[in-house]
């Protein structure tokens, strides 16, 4: 197994507050290629803060984050943008679909930024993704015309658009009913198994977390071994 994500003594402290707030303290963590990891922990324990660091949306106050062999700490913004575009797909609790764009066009957004495919190839790939996520007929609908579960699946399809190494999800089932939450986690399992994606998801549902290969428990900004 190859390590695709390596955190060494990572901490995150907010210094622009009146009193410095420590969000994360001395995190050491490695994640292997194709692993399906669930991050669990009480509300406010720093799960999202950790995810933003893993996803290169935020920078640690100390320590190193090595993503696919690249030390991303203090890397130039252009390098981080490139890694986010090519290697990472994000899903959040809120779907963040662009309301003016159809499901298909939303899925094509990352591809259009990457410009690795021709327009018709992008379209074809988007349609394949829709199929894979059971949304064959939703392609031309606007996000407003989709159900909550469908929207979240379109968001996952968009995250997978550029065939990234990672799928990172911050409470993706937080707004979903049990049936749809279950569906989302089944998809994660499939992505890890069939496509060898490294899936990292936050959840506070123990039953869902149990379906992951590994659980990472966070309490008060520190890792706790289970």
């Amino acid at each position: 197994m190859t390590t695709v994500l390596d955190l060494k003594h990572v901490s995150r402290v907010l210094t622009n507050e009146a009193v410095p707030v420590t969000l994360l303290h001395d995190i050491n963590l490695t994640i292997d290629h194709g692993e399906f990891v669930a991050i669990v922990g009480p509300s406010g324990s720093g799960k999202s803060s950790l995810m933003y660091l893993l996803g290169l949306l935020d920078q640690p106050s100390a320590g190193d984050i090595i993503l696919h062999g690249v030390n991303t700490t203090n890397a130039p913004e252009s390098v981080l943008e490139r890694l986010r575009l090519e290697k990472i797909g994000f899903v959040f609790q809120y779907h963040f679909l662009l309301p003016e764009f159809s499901a298909l066009d939303n899925i094509m957004l990352p591809m259009r930024k990457l410009r690795a495919l021709s327009h018709s190839q992008m379209r074809q790939r988007a349609e394949e993704l829709l199929c894979y996520f059971g949304l064959k007929k939703a392609g031309h609908r606007l996000p407003g015309q989709l159900s909550g579960g469908e929207r979240q699946r379109v968001a996952i399809a968009r995250a997978m658009a550029n065939d990234p190494l990672f799928l990172m999800a911050d409470e993706p089932s937080g707004n979903l009913d049990t049936k749809n939450a279950d569906l989302v986690f089944s998809l994660f399992e499939r992505l890890a198994k069939e496509q060898n994606k490294t899936v990292i998801t936050i959840t506070h549902d123990p039953a869902l977390a149990a379906r992951a290969h590994r659980q990472i428990n966070l309490v008060d900004g520190q890792l706790v071994t289970a």
């Binding site: 943008e81 575009l85 994000f90 959040f92 809120y94 764009f101 990352p110 259009r112 930024k113």
Partner: protein, 418 residues
Amino acid sequence: MSLPLPLSLAIAYLVGRRRQTIISIAGVAMGVGFFIAVSAMMQGFHQYFIDKIIHVAPHVVMKDEFRTARIQPVTMQHPNSVVMLSGVKPRDERRGIRGGERIAQEIAQIDGVSVSPILSGQVFLRYGGKDVAVNLLGIDPVKEAAASNIQQDMIGGALSNLNTNSTGIIIGAGLARNLGAQLGAKLTVVSPQGVTLIMKVEGITRTGITELDYGQAYALLEKSQILQKRDQRINLIKMRLADVNRATILASALEARYGWRTEGWQETNQNIFGLFRLQEIIMQTVVGAILIVAGFGIFNIITTVIHEKERDIAILKSIGLSRRDIEAIFVLQGVMVGIAGALLGWALGWGLMQLLESFPINMTDESFMEIEHMMLYRTPRHYIDSGVLAVLAASISAYLPARRAAQLRPVDIIRSAA
């Protein structure tokens, strides 16, 4: 087939706020349209005026006066010392250009210059119980014809009649109307010097410049000299140049040579040119204000869109779009509003001009110039200038909020959205 991503996002956002977008475009179009129409109107009027001046008025005039008071001989003798003189009285000189005829002949030798020596003075014209004070120009008809457009301005009678009838007088059309005098009418001409002559109307002129048409008359130079009791004198030398642009240079050369105050047409009309400049400044201020208002409109719509689309910005950044991509999305909206506004403004400006031209305006009577319809100066420059200005203003107005949008941190937005 596929547009660049920032452009298609920009279009989607503009289409999403159709009403506000249309209002912004209309604001820009208004500024551009009025800029074009008002510029054309103003410059058209200025050009018409200049053409008229060049057509009607002499290009250079030499007058019987000095620009500065004459220096006392004693001062000239002691150039670097303080001289105190008491009891100095100005000499009661006979007015007129001394040696004027000779000067006129000398000037006439210069290539491309036609010269007309004149004695002008105030007289009263009396006809049918009406009394009108006018400026009577005593002329040599042949020289005056060469140095002015009086021939073309004749609408009745003939200039040459002055040669056959030495007591003939030529009057302006407005004057003829005021007096009720027609060709052949016998006017009583009375000078302030107390000389009275009976003169027959031998011609009527019409220049289109009210001041001249209502207040000027021509007679032979000798008759004017008799009326003014100024034998052999002239007090004005009119010059007409083949190249009007030489007027100022020639005027200063002649003044340096002869000492008499000599003005080119630009100097003679400098009050009016100053007024033109003022008009231009006022117009530019108004157009600037319109563009600033339009700019605020664009600033406002872009700021609103950014606020509304914070979540889109966050996800686009997390996907990997760069700051410049985000900036481009919103600047492009401004550019598009600017371009659409400019194009619409061009059409509006063109339409306004058609409208203005179709309205007859009657300013033939009391205003200082005869104008029968709007003179418009049409030039691509007005379109180019206004277009560039509009797109520039729109882009800057959009750039300011766009720069802030590019700096938004996706984490902050995602946190507040959850």
